[in-house]
Subunit: 300 residues, 2 copies
């Protein structure tokens, strides 16, 4: 089934111990829609400025991502971000961020996508997420990714959004920040009281968990030392997870587990290169091979 | 098959946010041999002073732990430890430790145990571990647990010991300390170069991993918020793991995975009460029930 992803398309400037890139392809929407495209029909809603590099659109189209929802606004500039990873890569310092055309963006769905059954709201402003939701029939499954900035600066809107979605996906630091609760499990439980019927907590090198009122699923991270650029790891996790669920068309334990497994593997491939340099050359068979190898490592 | 465990039997005085205990039953050897007893014939080698509480021996005997290797030395005092857990329980501060009768302890195996096939060297001085090894025929499988104190203060002896054992078990902080390497995977690889043919790294709330030259297994921790007293979690993990392996009598992937699964569950039961208060009332069926529940959560 088709999946609509709302999220940023941006220019990323990166410094990491492994090198640097200037105005590379980035943005939560880009990573997520690309990751989803391995599993399902993937559609992106985003806005960029007239400085947008058309080759970057081609990277997405090469995997079949439908860009009918990509708005190119003349007279405006694309969002840009500059991040630096320190030697141990265990955090990222934002040196500069320019929202540009994303500032105040209130998206609506293209007419043909208004009844899309699967929707991923990727890491943007809660007001933008709700603007898109308002323009659509209620999709069968809506998952939102959120981040520290909106927890601090758009809390009320975020809390309203939480009552309109099925699932929230966030990292453990954000779960603590949102709930004020230290334990990941307790924080996840508290998030369930805030609206979503399930929550997915990403724990970086320690994997991820999925919790609903009656279910809990745990997946370790894929064991790799080959981390070149963690940018987009969480977005590609969310995109792949949602892609698998859109393909499965249900939320049975088997589908959820499969989604978590593939999401972990896809995120591990993404971080092996800067921007989408590694990701864009990934073949589906490569994902399957890595999934098979990962499974051998998993205790059950 | 029978498993011999060498490790401390001690008086633990504990302060945690959930209460406190004075001179409760503790010690790595106690936790480990108790945990192993659910799965295999469990034998303990330890030394205590004349102040040893015979009721504590009964606790071990009630689970069938063979105490023929427990030496009670007159004129001496039992090792004692005083630890405090802060509000978030994420570390333990040692307020006082008295080695007493453990100081300079150089154990030998009772005659009947000299050809025991499975040996767990539990968190003691490397010199003590080697003294015991010298007194035995080389067991089929020897695993040593180690801790920060010996990495700092008995490094040379520890490095010698590493060349005489099959597997090392330690937590991620200790793996970093031993190797000077930050990434858990890289640290584990480096430990394999130091002698052992496999290494098990415990990562607290994030689970554990087993690595050999050609294998890697990952297990998340059992999801619980009910942590009353984490003392002995690592020891009971090691004891249960070794107990399952002694019962399986092989190191096939299936046996290793089973060992990691049960070790995780047994450790999770232990930390739900002070000292062995919860642990001593655990029934084997309770372990099986929790294993079944845990398996439902595991992605594979």
């Amino acid at each position: 089934m088709s999946l609509v992803t709302l999220g940023s398309a941006a220019y990323d400037t990166l410094d990491s111990p492994f090198g640097s890139r200037v105005r590379a392809l980035g943005g939560a929407g880009v990573y997520a829609s690309f990751a989803a495209s391995f599993f399902t029909e993937s559609r992106l809603i985003a806005v960029v400025g007239e400085d947008w590099n058309p080759e970057y659109s081609e990277t997405l189209r090469s995997r079949g991502v439908d860009l009918a929802g990509l708005e190119i606004r003349s007279g405006e500039k694309t969002m840009s971000w500059h991040g630096r990873y320190p030697a141990d890569m265990n955090r990222c310092d934002t040196l500069d961020i320019q929202l540009n055309v994303m500032d105040g963006y209130r998206p609506t769905a293209p007419e043909a996508w208004k009844n899309a059954p699967y929707l991923l709201l990727g890491n943007g402003a809660p007001e933008a997420d709700m603007s898109l939701l308002d323009s659509m029939e209620r999709p069968k499954l809506v998952i939102a990714d959120t981040m520290n900035f909106y927890i601090d600066n758009a809390r009320e809107a975020l809390e309203t959004l939480l009552r309109r979605i099925d699932g929230l996906i966030l990292n453990d630091g954000e779960a603590r920040q949102l709930t004020g609760v230290g334990s990941t499990l307790d924080a996840a439980r508290k998030i369930l009281e805030m609206g979503p019927r399930f929550v997915v907590v990403k724990r970086g090198e320690y994997g991820a968990l999925w919790m609903s009122e009656s279910e809990l699923y745990l997946v370790p991270s894929y064991p790799t030392s080959k981390v070149v650029d963690p940018t987009g790891a969480g977005d590609s996790f969310a995109g792949a997870m949602m892609g698998v669920l859109a393909e499965a068309q249900d939320l049975t334990p088997a589908s959820i587990k499969k989604a978590l497994l593939y999401a972990t593997v896809v995120a591990s491939l993404n971080i092996e290169g800067f921007s989408l340099e590694r990701f864009r050359n990934v073949r589906r068979e490569e994902i399957e091979e890595r999934v098979a190898k990962f499974r051998e490592s998993l205790v059950y």
